[in-house]
Assembly symmetry: C2
Homo-oligomer: 512 residues x 2
């Protein structure tokens, strides 16, 4: 059994049966081994940004790693910005990067570069495989590291000769480590803080899934504590039933307004809130000055169990999400971020997964989605655009029975359009909504905020993407995805309804 086969069998023994890949010569042994290890599913992506983002989406929805197989330094480099998002999402990912054969490394061949050096900044664990014989053990260590907690990108660099050489037996099955439950002192301190009033919970990590949020609802009902969610957490349950939990706003002023008057904030799997960017003359933190923070659960602890224990300590009664009818469709008329958001909120099916890369439209659309049927929201965690379509690919493969809706800005959508091809290739049940305002509109706002002067004509050219306009319907079709355009509420509602009723990939260009 050669090294490549040992690696694939070690992954499979550890329930990792999906690999997003864009292989090259140094990874050909892995590709060849797919025919001998048929339980491993290879999913081809036409750019490594898709591989990295898809593995992130898969991990956010399953809590388990997928594997990624990349070609040397440039393949890794192309995946980096989505690995950055995965790192901020604390997603477990097993990232396998091929390397030149060891005897070839001493030459300055064109593809030679320091792979480990660029892997380190975003990987929690990096190792270059030292010999073929160590493949099994090292692969298991790589998997173990990916789980954390919290989850992290775990990068194994494999010289080609270690893939083609005999490599013994697969490595051991590793147990995903349990997250520690916070000590009772942490629970009591949080309870004491909440009892003082003017208090809030600030939730992140996996505390934003159903068990944690349900416990937060009990606490909210029993104490009146406000509940805020870290908008950069990898996954959160949302919808009408969960609207007591409010996403903290993007800009510091509305975020400060949401937190105004608080004297105590209990942190659950998150750090204190900060603004996305720093601006002239503004502080970076958004909680009231002098606000006291109490940590209920650290990033690597079990915030859900801690919240349940806190609810019990507060004698909070049981809580059931109240059934809520879907909101009404907005009146017919032009599409705006607001009317599009309301249309989505009215038509989004229960249990949908929303991949959110809406950028300037995000505040309006997400405000509307707070009243939608229950769904999972997967936002951009690290601020690196080009994530929305790849994350949708991974989420669809993770949850084949659920509808995935990728709501995507036109500027960021063009970062990794190759994801559309994989959606078509794998017949993924993803509806892509392109928010076509034909501008990097967020930059208009940011430009004013950074104290720059009015936007002159030459500055405007760096923000305007309307010349030429990206024509998304032929673009989507060219990559195999059935694509339509809608410019009014009624047209968009009809197309979105049709997309929700059929399975498979579909793109709707929503002209704003």
């Amino acid at each position: 059994m050669n090294g490549a086969e040992v690696l694939l069998r070690t992954l499979l023994a550890n329930r990792i049966d999906l690999c997003f890949m864009n292989p090259g010569t140094s990874e050909m042994q892995f590709v060849s081994a797919l025919d001998r290890v048929p339980a491993m599913r290879g999913v081809l992506c036409l750019h490594e940004g898709v591989c990295a983002g898809a593995a992130d989406g898969y991990a956010r929805m399953t809590g388990r790693p997928a594997a990624v197989l990349l070609h040397l330094w440039p393949g890794l480099a192309n995946g980096l910005s989505n690995f950055h998002n995965a790192r901020k999402a604390r997603s477990p990912i097993v990232n396998i990067v091929g390397e030149h054969a060891t005897a070839h490394l001493r030459y300055d061949a064109p593809l030679t570069a320091d792979v480990a050096a660029i892997a380190r900044p975003f990987s929690g664990w990096v190792r270059t495989l030292a010999s073929a014989a160590e493949m099994g053990q090292t692969a298991s260590a790589c998997i173990q590291a990916a789980y954390g907690p919290p989850g992290q990108v775990s990068t194994l660099i494999v010289p080609a000769d270690h893939s083609w050489s005999p490599a013994g037996e697969p490595g051991p099955v590793v147990a995903p480590p349990a997250r520690a439950v916070p000590a009772s002192g942490q629970i009591e301190a949080a309870a004491a803080a909440l009892r003082q009033g003017d208090a809030a919970l600030f939730l992140g990590g996996i505390a934003l899934l159903e068990p944690g949020l349900a416990a937060a609802a009990r606490i909210h009902a029993a104490t009146g504590a406000r509940v805020f969610t870290n908008r950069y957490a990898g996954r959160s349950m949302r919808g009408a039933a969960w609207s007591f939990a409010r996403r903290l706003a993007y800009f510091p002023e509305p975020a400060e307004e949401m937190l105004a008057g608080l004297r105590h904030i209990v942190l659950v799997e998150t750090e204190p809130p900060v603004s996305f960017f720093g601006y002239p003359g503004r502080r970076s933190t958004v909680a009231p000055e002098g606000c006291h923070f109490t940590r209920l659960a650290a990033m690597d602890e079990d915030g859900s169990t801690a919240l349940e224990a806190l609810a019990n300590a507060l004698h909070a009664p049981a809580w059931q999400p109240a059934p809520a009818p879907p909101p009404e469709l907005p009146p017919a008329g032009p599409l705006t971020p607001e009317s599009l958001g309301r249309t989505l909120a009215a038509l989004l099916p229960e249990g949908a997964i929303v991949s959110d890369e809406m950028v300037s439209c995000g505040e309006a659309v997400n405000a509307a989605l707070a009243s939608a049927a229950c769904h999972d929201l997967l936002p951009v965690t690290g601020g690196s655009i080009g994530q929305g379509l790849p994350v949708a690919v991974g989420a669809a493969l993770a949850c084949p029975g659920r509808k995935v809706v990728a709501v995507e800005a036109d500027g960021s959508g063009l970062y990794t359009p190759q994801a559309l091809w994989t959606m078509a290739r794998e017949s993924l049940d993803v509806t892509v909504v392109i928010l076509a305002n034909r501008r990097y509109r967020i930059l208009e706002v940011e430009m004013r905020r950074t104290g720059a002067s009015a936007i002159g004509p030459r500055a405007d050219e760096m923000i305007d993407i309307a010349r030429p306009a990206i024509d998304w319907t032929p673009h989507g079709r060219s990559l195999g995805v059935d694509s339509v355009r809608a410019a009014t509420v009624e047209a968009f509602a009809a197309e979105f309804t049709a997309a929700m009723r059929t399975r498979g990939p579909r793109l709707i260009e929503a002209v704003l």
Copy 2:
């Protein structure tokens, strides 16, 4: 004058008047300053891979740096794989990366990461600006470093507050350093090696431009020394008149055959030749064992002047490129790499610039182009795909009077298709030829070479990109480029002829 304006004015003072950019919030001051510093031309790219590759193409054609402006860690990450190619091409590039305001850096905001850490592996010079007051001096130092010699990527990381704060005056004008002329001992040693017979010149760097090649032609004629060119050099003069200089083959076996029998190789701005990948049971070097290497000029020396001195030392007579009629068009029939190459060779206009990312078709097409009219060839220098279209963007901006032909594989073409949009936006005179074989065909060959077994059906799925087929004509049109398809020699010849007769971007999908 704030830091952003000081930077732009320092660039302009140093004749850097073009900036490829995809800015974000932390770079808004630079965008704003474009209206106050109108001599700086901002060229918007919809992905940072385009910015990096375009700056590389510009530098290869002018020898001077363009500037690149990128947004924080992810923007830099997205440019990395093309910066890798630029590094291998030894292209001078002034790479400006925005960073959070210094007061914001202590918080773990979503976009926070170690920018310098990922800049270092591919940058010859990296500095994070320490204060606004140092902007002018530091920008000048960055420009100086970019020139080398040899050229390199020079990365200046600029915290946002240093852009918006007063920053004094622009930095000084720096003199591009002259390359050292090799000592007479090096000339004499090379002459002695050539006089022994069974000798060759192996040329790289800027020795592959007209003066160096013309001197090599004299040496070739006078001594019978074979002349080989490093296929990974950033730019080389090619065409019928220059066909005495042969590109070393991609695979080691034909490369070894080309070099067979040599006892002396004179190196000019290059290291001894090595194979692209290492393979089981093969050595990485391709020159005959025991072959003696004599270095005429190192990478940072002036190889052209050294070659002229060598030709004089050998009393080689003057040389004029012989006029050669263009080759005949091949007979009508299906498009193959060979017939397409012959068609291009027949129709390529004198003085064209060919951006070559042909991958598996490259050997056949480039063999044909050896008999074409005189042109510049810009190959993939670092093996990272996604370079061909961006380099064409940069070359077209560098040489507005010359026709640029980007000959592009379909697999690698989908890495940075966003370059098509910039071609349309800037009305660049680029003809893109997509070689649509609908496979990662090079991997078929490589798979066999790495000793992997026959390609089974599941391995084949990772090589086949025909399901779905990328439909390049709507794809190109969706990004604003007039696009057509050709599936025969006669159709391709007609479309290519039409493209050569008109200015502006055009895409031809050549179905192989």
